[in-house]
Symmetry: D2
Subunit: 202 residues, 4 copies
Amino acid sequence: MHGSDFEDLVNKFMKFPGIGPRQARRFVYFLLAQDRIFRTDFIKTLEGLNAQAKQCSRCAYFFVGGLNQNLLCGRCQSPDTDKSILMIVEKDMDIDNIVKTGTYKGSFFVLGSLKNKTLKRLGLLKKIITKEGQTSQLKEIIIAFSASTDGDQMDHLLKIELKPLALKHNLKLSSLGRGLSTGVELEYSDAETIASALLGRH
Amino acid sequence: MHGSDFEDLVNKFMKFPGIGPRQARRFVYFLLAQDRIFRTDFIKTLEGLNAQAKQCSRCAYFFVGGLNQNLLCGRCQSPDTDKSILMIVEKDMDIDNIVKTGTYKGSFFVLGSLKNKTLKRLGLLKKIITKEGQTSQLKEIIIAFSASTDGDQMDHLLKIELKPLALKHNLKLSSLGRGLSTGVELEYSDAETIASALLGRH
Amino acid sequence: MHGSDFEDLVNKFMKFPGIGPRQARRFVYFLLAQDRIFRTDFIKTLEGLNAQAKQCSRCAYFFVGGLNQNLLCGRCQSPDTDKSILMIVEKDMDIDNIVKTGTYKGSFFVLGSLKNKTLKRLGLLKKIITKEGQTSQLKEIIIAFSASTDGDQMDHLLKIELKPLALKHNLKLSSLGRGLSTGVELEYSDAETIASALLGRH
Amino acid sequence: MHGSDFEDLVNKFMKFPGIGPRQARRFVYFLLAQDRIFRTDFIKTLEGLNAQAKQCSRCAYFFVGGLNQNLLCGRCQSPDTDKSILMIVEKDMDIDNIVKTGTYKGSFFVLGSLKNKTLKRLGLLKKIITKEGQTSQLKEIIIAFSASTDGDQMDHLLKIELKPLALKHNLKLSSLGRGLSTGVELEYSDAETIASALLGRH
């Protein structure tokens, strides 16, 4: 009962993360039910984003960067960022979550995941480590992936890939500590978590 | 670390049904990570939808209706639709689901819910019933709301509101039957469902 | 670190419906942590139950029936039970739930499920229908299984198995009505439920 | 429709951890549906447990200890247990889980939780620490509670309560390390977990 534009938009929303066919339809009906002003405004915001969308040339973070030619994100430009320490994460949302906690002031690099086949960024990461390691600016690299099977594989791979560079430029190379996360019960913890929690007792 | 366009779009996505702040951000990052072609194409589809978005003047269904002046949806225009029976539903998605089952060939009316305060459509509904009742085209009205507290209230309200019209134009006025839905276990069924299932035994 | 009695009891609790190894252990620790009076009392209640456990010779319901020789459950004995109508259910808990609703005053028969291979009771059921049909006491049989795949199979099987008896003794043979169960949303209902709800509109 | 023994047993099962009224009934029906041999055997196992149920006089662990007078559990008696280290946990199941991982060979003490008001055991714990600290057998105490609000309160309380004893007998007093538990995603981690994971990087 719908023209192709309806189904076309449903299909596009189905590409959004976590959105199935039912919710995609719900989105289109939601848009149809709004007044024209809401839709026009939504389109305008998207156009603004499209015009200013950038990926940081140093840390691969996506950002909305204005209309100038600058390709460094705010964090990579800022003098307040501690450039002696570099944290490698899977995705942009990880950075947002870590920054929000206020416990880390260093720089980042968004590597992607094995699943997303974004390992082409590994070459870029090595270049940046080499460059910042040579100037003695960089002192430490933290590999910060989730405690999942994918995250563990990535951690293992990066330890192997980055060790030569770390030795050459005298960089500390570490991974996030394991233990009991907030909310986790001892009764349900696995051997690795308990072993890490014992090792990391303080 | 983001400009106002980023946060602006996050806020707009948070108005979409079922979308919280975290998923709204994920959507914006998703759009930033796509290539410009995807985004431009997405915007174009939205513009097409915006230009053609219509609400049916008879049944209040939202549809994408081309650029002409026609304000009747395909179903209300079609000679294949059985105009002798009218089903009143809460929302567009209900129609899609009922149509998909292939068990109903009649016409619809989208009334909205008590929550959404769209009861202003009740006046429109009454006008349509009066008009189609006078021409003797309409024979039956089915009130088809969910078996929830809200749906039951609506059912009750409509029975009262529509009874005079049904009497005047000699229309059958009914509600969807209750009983065991597919997947429901007897052990966990409430008194009303069991009573209805007993009454409706066949 | 535990003797065989501990593990023995864990294994026995794991046979209880819905109990996995972790909860079975939790039960044993719970019992160990109670004082001796609680445990002795628990054992005594179990012994009482064991001495008086009976299965009704007419409806196959399990009950705690005192130390006498009577093998009819209270419902089958009671003059308040409407013997003109017989409802066939899967399990004892279904009876408890239906009785609780107060909408049914007839008699029952617990047949079991295809999964539990208790179809040996089918022979007993036929004998009872024959006997009560001959005396013209019985007028109607209601097949009351859950609206699940298993329940539907059972319903289908019983319709075939009981039809000859129903014809012979002039008994009405019906199944519970389908439709919207309390709490079910129209948007998520399947074709069968919607078709039944339409058919059963009132 | 059931005698008092039925309801009595339902009520007793409702005292078991995690068991509501419906599952308690299901348990009684399950027992009624078993043959007499199963029930008699179940009762016998319970009687054996009741006769031999003991609580270790050193670590407060519940165990099935035979009919002799020995009030020490197997772990507290064993020469393989490392008596130089004592781990304080909330409940017996925590010990089982930690032992299962094979990463800890020391002794335990089951303190209970604030909720269960079993803090009367705190006096016993202090006596044991004093006694084993005086003989220089004990070198370290690990406070091992879940990473929950209750667990954190307990950890805080024990740090205060045990500090004087630890100083007096020169004992190391530590808590389990925090960090990313297996399966935990960085994107969803809270500030405390991230801070701990950063601090514990290795």
